[in-house]
């Protein structure tokens, strides 16, 4: 029986759930019908607002939008695209190509897709291929199973808003296996359009209150700017906590305590976001650290948001990925029955690098049932995540098993991708640390390096004159002179008076060597020019 209780109209809609996929969608739709009724214009006792301009201009545009910045796609990237265009048009430059080391996009930098994943999704896209004997049987079986779960047997049909049921089940099984058997309920799994979609949805759900009671969200400095952009747009309060650059970007609970104490004076801190492995910093949190964070969240009544999209990207010896959920449950019921947690994952990173498919999910733990209902409503506004992305996710969580024909190739490709990344992580750290004026922490995981730059006083002044952050000034110059596109540290946040850039370790090894060499040469030139 499926029971949907809606507070607005106080009725219970019971229905027998049979195997038809569409039935679940009926329930979502009809329960929506109640809440989706027209909102009445509330008459207020107010004098008429004298706003004469109604048309969309800078004065009338939503002011929150002006505060949104997303450095990964910001001005430097736009300039890089412009330069690319100029190169195509034959304009002469001191380089022949733009190297986009600004975004965590493995395929763009030459990484090849995993064969099995693409075979299955192709079979789903064009089921006539199920007759083609060039496709292995295990790929065909996966495809048939997925198609059976799609409306009309087509990936062109909408799915239920939280995602295709069997895929949510497969995700839950994957999480259980990953976390040593700790149970995962498919009802707590929401598929999403990349992890970003789920992250923003949760932030939306968490943001409320006004003035001193406005939601505060703790996020690391440096951070992935999706968080700061979302908080700006939602007009939630960003509560920054600093990662310790001298200790390999580790998280210190003392710093969390400091940050939350100060925050309580002007907002209502409700959530704590952690990216592990870290972006842009690449640090992999120790188990002890994760326990400390969980304890802190419990004490301070904070909702934990664990962004774990890089969970397979762990390179450094002695480092290991520990999921927040696993640690939470191993800390026993005192914490595991109380701490509220949302964990995020995606098809964009790890060994797959399938950014363009926009596949992802979140798992919510210990969420209030009424809030969960609201969450379910909230996700239904966007209809459903792209079906090809859902299908791809299914293969990531349900890969070939040792007794299946595609296993050998799959494992070979997966291992190769991760091994190469590990090599490049090491090489990047080593080379950058040979440059006087650049200091690079070990890249323990993820896909980026976030080295610190010593910039001459003259350069800092020149930047100020131009109205640019010094590291933006540096990166722009680097782009114009070498064609290498990086993102300045100011886009991610950093301690005052420090400068960084974020570079991906994704270009092919030979190209990466060239990039590192060029950066070394550029830095030398830059330092000399502004000495």
């Amino acid at each position: 029986m499926g029971i949907f209780i809606n507070n607005g109209e106080k009725f219970i809609f019971c229905f027998l759930i049979d195997s038809q996929t569409n039935l679940m969608r009926h329930l979502y739709n009809i329960s929506w019908a109640i809440s989706g009724t027209e909102c009445e214009l509330q008459k207020r006792n107010m004098t008429e607002n004298g706003l004469g301009h109604r048309v969309l201009n800078m004065d009338t545009m939503n002011p929150n939008v002006k505060r949104v910045e997303y450095a990964v796609r910001g001005p430097i990237v736009q300039r890089a695209m412009q330069i690319e265009k100029e190169l195509k048009e034959g304009v002469k430059k001191p380089f022949t190509e733009v190297i986009k080391a600004n975004i965590g996009d493995a395929h763009a930098m030459g990484q090849k897709p995993i064969t099995f994943l693409r075979q299955v999704v192709a079979l789903c896209a064009y089921p006539d291929l199920l007759e083609d004997d060039k496709f292995p049987e295990d790929a065909k079986n996966r495809a048939r199973r997925i198609l059976q779960a799609c409306g009309g047997g087509s990936i062109g049909a909408y799915s239920a808003s939280p995602g295709i049921e069997i895929i949510r089940q497969d995700v839950a099984k994957y999480i259980e296996k990953r976390d040593g058997g700790i149970p995962s309920n498919p009802d707590n799994i929401y598929l999403s359009t990349g992890a970003s979609d789920a992250i923003v949805t949760m932030l939306k759900l968490l943001t409320s209150g006004e003035g001193k009671n406005r939601t505060g969200v703790m996020i690391s400095i440096p951070q992935y700017p999706l968080y700061s952009a979302a908080l700006a747009e939602l007009a939630a309060v960003q509560v920054s906590y600093y990662l310790d650059e001298d200790k390999c970007w580790s998280l210190d609970v003392g710093e969390l305590r400091r940050a939350v104490k100060v925050a309580r004076e002007h907002c209502n801190p409700r959530a704590l976001c952690i990216i592990n492995p870290g972006n842009p910093t690449g640090q992999v949190q120790s188990r002890q650290c994760i326990e400390d964070v969980i304890r802190f969240a419990a004490e301070e009544h904070l909702f934990l948001m664990a962004d774990e999209v890089y969970q397979d990207n762990v390179y450094a010896e002695g480092c290991q990925f520990h999921s927040f959920k696993k640690v939470l449950f191993e800390m026993g019921p005192e914490y595991s029955s109380v701490v509220e947690l949302a964990s995020f994952h995606s098809t964009s990173k790890c060994f797959m690098g399938e950014c363009g498919f926009r596949g992802g999910y979140m798992e919510v733990v210990n969420m209030d049932p009424e809030v969960k209902l609201q969450l379910t409503k909230l996700v239904s506004v966007r209809l459903c995540p792209p079906i090809p992305g859902q299908a791809l996710l299914d293969l990531v969580v349900n890969p070939p098993q040792p007794d299946e024909p595609s296993y050998a190739t799959f494992i070979k490709e997966r291992t190769a991708n991760l091994d190469i990344l590990a090599e490049k992580a090491k090489m990047t750290e080593q080379v950058l640390n040979t440059v006087p004026g650049i200091h690079c922490n070990p890249v323990q995981g993820a896909m980026y390096t976030f080295p610190r730059l010593s910039l001459p006083e003259k350069a800092i002044n020149a930047a100020k004159e131009k109205g640019q952050a010094p590291d933006m000034f540096y990166c722009m110059k680097l782009l114009e002179e070498t064609g290498i596109c990086l993102v300045p540290g100011s886009g991610f946040g950093q301690r005052d008076g420090t400068y960084h850039f974020r570079m991906t370790i994704l270009p092919a090894t030979e190209k990466l060597k060239v990039v590192l060499k060029k950066i070394r040469e550029f830095h030398k030139r830059f330092t000399e020019e502004f000495s």
């Binding site: 569409n22 109640i34 048309v55 939503n62 192709a122 909408y158 950014c355 995540p385 792209p386």
Partner: protein, 437 residues
Amino acid sequence: YMDVIDVYWGDPHSGGVKPLTFVRQVLAACIYPKLLQSDKLPVDVRQRAQSLLTACDGGSVGSYTPSGGISYIRGSVSNFISRRDGGVPSSPENIFMTSGSQRSLMLVLKLLVHNQASLPTGVLTAVPTYNYLKMMLQRLGAAIVPYYLDEEQGWAMEVEELRRALQASKGVCNPVALYVINPGNPTGHVQSRKCIEEVIRFAAEERLFLMADEVYQESVFGEGCEFVSYKKVLSEMGPPLSHTVKLASFHSASKGLMGECGLRGGYVELVNLDPTVMRYAYTIFSTDICAPVTGQLALELMANPPRPGDPSYPVYAQETQSIQAMLVHNMNWVPEVLNNIPGISCQPMMGGAFVFPRLYLPQAATEKAKVVGMQPDLWYCKRLLEEAGVCVGPGCQYGQKEGTHHIRLCVMTPVETMEQVLKRLKDFHLHFLKEFS
């Protein structure tokens, strides 16, 4: 009944309409490029897939794309728009592809809606209208300013009614935009050029941002009906209107003959926006990083279908004609059947994917619904689902004049299924009338 028939969603594939072969072949080859060597795929499919892969970073559909979408595809879409509008220029920079047109609607609303001003932002919205729009407005904290479509005139839009609605909103909210959906959802009405001109003039006078949701533009088959885009009409009205009225036009690969809802491919074309606002529009769109590549591919194939002479053309033509024939048949026949059921009336369907017939429910029934605590048409739909296995949309979800009741059915559905639906609906309705007579 043995199975549940769902004509609630505008989801053709779910209802049994088959995907277009050309679209799926190109998609498969892009996803698994080894198929480029397969002689089982026609030459034009392989060439198209090759061009598209070349336009992707690293030659893979797994890469992110620029935030507005792959340049090549933005170009295709702008050419499509231009061709459709008889040569009115369209610039790729003004086109943003997103995960369904839904997402574009949301992002444009984000630019428009203030939730901190002293009065809520208002958006003029039809009654009845696309229900998801209302959800989005609620989510953003905007106020809905309802304007009523005229059921007796086939759900036509009237400017006098727009004026009344705007007047009623004074002091209550700050109206900034006018949302129209043409062809209509749920109504099936297709606006005349004259009506579009009047709406544009009204928007210009009242300085309203025009949001023209045109996702059903491919499905216009009513006798004497023609889809003409808001942009085209605006352009043909000449300066100053053509240079000043701010317009966002939305389209999607989910509807029309392709029906690829699950691929999530939609776009918005922004017309006459301030350059400074466009910069922020770009930032807002970029926080999604990019639209799913499969959706972008679907848009390309919608913009650039096979042409006569192409190897894939015969199959493509046959498939699209068959879907079109189904739609044309249903468009004419479904309202007729509905009109012959006592207690149901239905306006003619001119285009789109739905009919929105009116139910004349006995007083006893509406009273019973009140007791149960539900809107009468919602309660009717629940019973229809439980007792007859047919799922349709309740009129209260889309909006309707007080005291009236409707249901919405998707007619982009195979004829045999539609026949079943109408048979079951008729049986149920007659039974229902008897019960409450």
